[in-house]
Amino acid sequence: MKELFPVKQVMGFAFSIVLTAVALLVYFTDMSYTMGMTVLLITAFVQAGLQVVVFMHAGETKDKGSIYINIYYALIIALFTIFGTLLVLVWDM
């Protein structure tokens, strides 16, 4: 029976709903800007990671290596782009 019941996916599903609910709190309660932003950023990244690992099955096949290399490469480039842009247009303007 154990093989038939997708415990991991159901847990993941529940967790992703919790994450969504927490993100929604930002809208419904009266948080400061910094607080709200922090909550959104954290829930967003955890949510994305969860989706990739649990529902898009990264890491379950033999091309695990290339999938993770790809994701890290994308992350690095996205972070460089975002922080570079902030540096140019906001922090050092």
């Binding site: 490469y73 782009t81 570079g84 842009t85 540096l87 140019v88 247009l89 050092d92 303007m93």
Partner: protein
């Protein structure tokens, strides 16, 4: 503005009318010609619906050559306008349009299809595959690209060309300062072509990762395939930025959003920033495949193994990351502080290191090689010093403090032509000459080819080196004229002379093609250059399935090993081969994209909606379509093989 007024070219001149008539007549002649010779069916069956990577490649090549001439005429016009002070050949508005379209056409519609031609034609052959991973998607890529190209060129006849520079900086490109539909064309035509390119990127990454012949590990791939792989990775990561950027620009122009406006919370500098987040990786997308081609040509004619395979690969991987972290060097003068500028100065200089590694590797390959000066080799040998010069001036520009002096002068123009022409254009011409016999079954004439290479080089040096000097003396780029007292006239006249010599070189290239079609011998075998990698191991002309038996690979130059070291390439029996079916859907869908784009440019909403529904209908149809491809039977393969083997002698 009255509805129909927008379709008229806002700033016409005799030249524009004359070329309109010219274009009209040529189109008519082509249609009449095809009808007269009853070629419509042939065109539809063999080319428009094809999913064969070789044919799609050839269509990319033809588009690229066509655009090379379109952009070249722009270049000559600019040089003629600047050859004398106070020249009145072009007025300021026309000059703006000409340098804008020149830049876009050369980068996006000449250089891009040229490298994609090499991806298409070479990658499957080099890795011993029968086609790309998604042949149908490949056809869609081409047709989307083609329709984007067509739409962009239409601006010349209907509605007016874009005139805000190929960089199209806001606020200049906003509605307030660019009132004609020209910049709408820019946003939408490049968008459509760009989506095609993005698909190409995904397609080739998959092809290279999944479809290599048995035994070909990543570190045994030919160098061109490596460069194609890295370039496509950069495409997949850089082009989405362009897609989003153009979508935002379109919304600003058509729907009144305020992303790049100067009020209501918009930020015009964000355009420049995002443009170069795409734009700098883009230049590496162009140059890496060029490097890949040189890495195929130089070992072949130095008759030696490529020196430093591992460091070649490593340097490209490093470039693939570094090319994303240098973009701000394009706008050091925008107003950010010295801290940000210093960081981008340093990353930019760092990128010269992996590039330098590659230069040394080629030099070491040449060292002690038995060099044979064929036309492709001549281009490669000319490339090394000229490109190095361009790289060195690039490092000069990378020093942010000094860049305040160079920025937006002719010095910059000299720099990027200095890297693009000896880097990209020479590689394209060298590669084209090198692979011509494999593609068309005869060689281009060597004598004429060498003349072309030398003329091009003389022309290039005369046209662009003087710009370094006038740039340092303060001649700004994108200025349509200057006064006698500036003292720029002599050097600008020299530049025009150089540009004219380059034009002659291109005409010579066309003559060479014509001459070789008529007189070149056809019995050249499969491997006329005595080359090294797998693409030369199949027949000429290449059968549609590429290899009757999948090759076995044990080194980076499997074919060379099979010739010299008794490596057995084709083991086993011929089996039936699974091939994809042709399809008209990509073409039809792209036509709808064309209509969609045109309607967007002129904000004709009913047509926008109808064409969008059409595009969706094509997607839905495709989702439900059952198409499992077809098999080529063993008998048919055997028959083709005997016929082709016979043709060799």
């Amino acid at each position: 503005m009255d509805f129909f007024d927008r379709f008229a070219v806002p700033h016409p001149s005799f030249l524009i009318y004359a070329s309109m008539v010219g274009i009209g007549l040529t189109m008519l002649a082509i249609v009449v010609g095809i009808t007269y010779f009853k070629k419509w069916g042939y065109l539809w069956r063999e080319w428009i619906t094809t999913v064969d990577h070789k044919r799609i490649g050839i269509m990319y090549l033809l588009t690229a050559l066509l655009m090379l001439f379109r952009g070249g005429v722009d270049g000559i016009m600019m040089r003629y306008q600047l050859s004398m002070p106070e020249n009145t050949f072009l007025d300021s508005q026309h000059y703006n349009e000409v340098f804008t379209t020149h830049g876009i056409v050369m980068i996006l519609f000449m250089a891009m299809p040229f490298i994609i031609f090499f991806f298409n034609f070479l990658v499957p052959l080099q890795i011993g595959a029968r086609d790309v991973a998604f042949p149908r998607l490949n056809a869609l890529s081409f047709w989307l690209f083609f329709m984007g190209m067509g739409l962009f060129n239409l601006s010349f006849i209907i509605g007016g060309s874009p005139d805000a520079g190929w960089t199209s900086y806001f606020p200049l490109a906003g509605n307030e300062f660019s009132t004609s539909v020209g910049t709408n064309y820019y946003m939408i035509a490049i968008q459509i072509a760009g989506i095609g390119t993005l698909m190409t990127g995904i397609n080739f990454i998959t092809t290279i990762l999944k479809m290599r012949a048995p035994g070909m590990t990543l570190m045994k791939m030919p160098m061109f395939t490596w460069s194609a792989f890295i370039a496509n990775v950069i495409i997949v990561f850089a082009f989405p930025v362009l897609t989003v950027l153009l979508a935002m620009g379109t919304m600003d122009r058509l729907f009144g959003t305020n992303f790049f406006t100067t009020d209501n919370g918009g930020m015009d500098m964000l355009w420049a920033n995002l443009f170069w987040v795409w734009g700098h990786p883009e230049v590496y997308i162009l140059i890496l495949p060029a490097f890949g081609l040189y890495s195929e040509i130089i070992p072949t004619f130095a008759r030696r193994n490529l020196y430093g395979y591992k460091s070649m690969v490593a340097s490209m991987v490093v470039i693939s990351v570094l090319s994303f972290v240098v973009w701000a060097h394009h706008f050091f003068t925008m107003g950010q502080g010295p801290f940000a500028n210093s960081i981008f100065s340093i990353t930019t200089m760092a990128i010269a290191i992996p590039t330098g590694v590659k230069i040394f590797n080629w030099l070491f390959t040449l060292w002690k090689g038995k060099i044979e000066f064929t036309t492709p080799m001549l281009y490669s040998v000319l490339f090394i010093p000229l490109f190095t010069l361009g790289g060195v001036t690039g490092v000069m520009l990378a020093m942010s403090a000094a860049d305040y002096q160079y920025h937006n002068t002719m010095f910059l123009v000299a720099h990027f032509h200095n890297v693009i022409i000896p880097g990209v254009v020479y590689a394209m011409l060298a590669g084209m000459t090198f692979y011509w016999p494999k593609i068309f079954g005869f060689m281009l004439n060597e004598r004429l080819g060498k003349w072309t290479a030398w003329l091009l080089t003389i022309g290039f040096v005369l046209a662009f080196i003087p710009m370094y000097i006038t740039g340092l003396d303060g001649q700004a780029r994108r200025m349509y004229t200057y006064s006698e007292s500036t003292g720029f006239s002599l050097l600008n006249m020299v530049s025009f002379g150089g540009a004219a010599i380059m034009a002659i070189a291109f005409v010579l290239l066309v003559y060479n093609i014509y001459y070789s079609i008529r007189y070149s011998p056809r019995d050249i075998g499969n491997d006329p250059w005595d080359a090294r990698s797998l693409e030369w191991s199949t027949h000429t002309p290449i059968p549609e399935y590429n290899f009757a038996i999948t090759p076995q690979v044990a080194s980076t130059q499997a074919f060379w090993d099979s010739k010299k070291n008794g490596h057995e390439l084709f083991k086993g029996e011929i089996e039936k081969i699974h091939m994809p079916n042709n399809s008209g859907l990509p073409f039809i869908m792209s036509c709808m994209f064309f209509v969609f784009g045109f309607a967007m440019v002129f904000s004709i909403w009913p047509v926008v909606i109808v064409s969008l529904i059409g595009i969706l209908a094509c997607l839905v149809y495709r989702s439900f379509e059952q198409d499992h491809g077809r098999y080529i039977s063993v008998e048919e393969i055997k028959e083709t093989e005997t016929r082709l083997r016979g043709a060799k002698k």
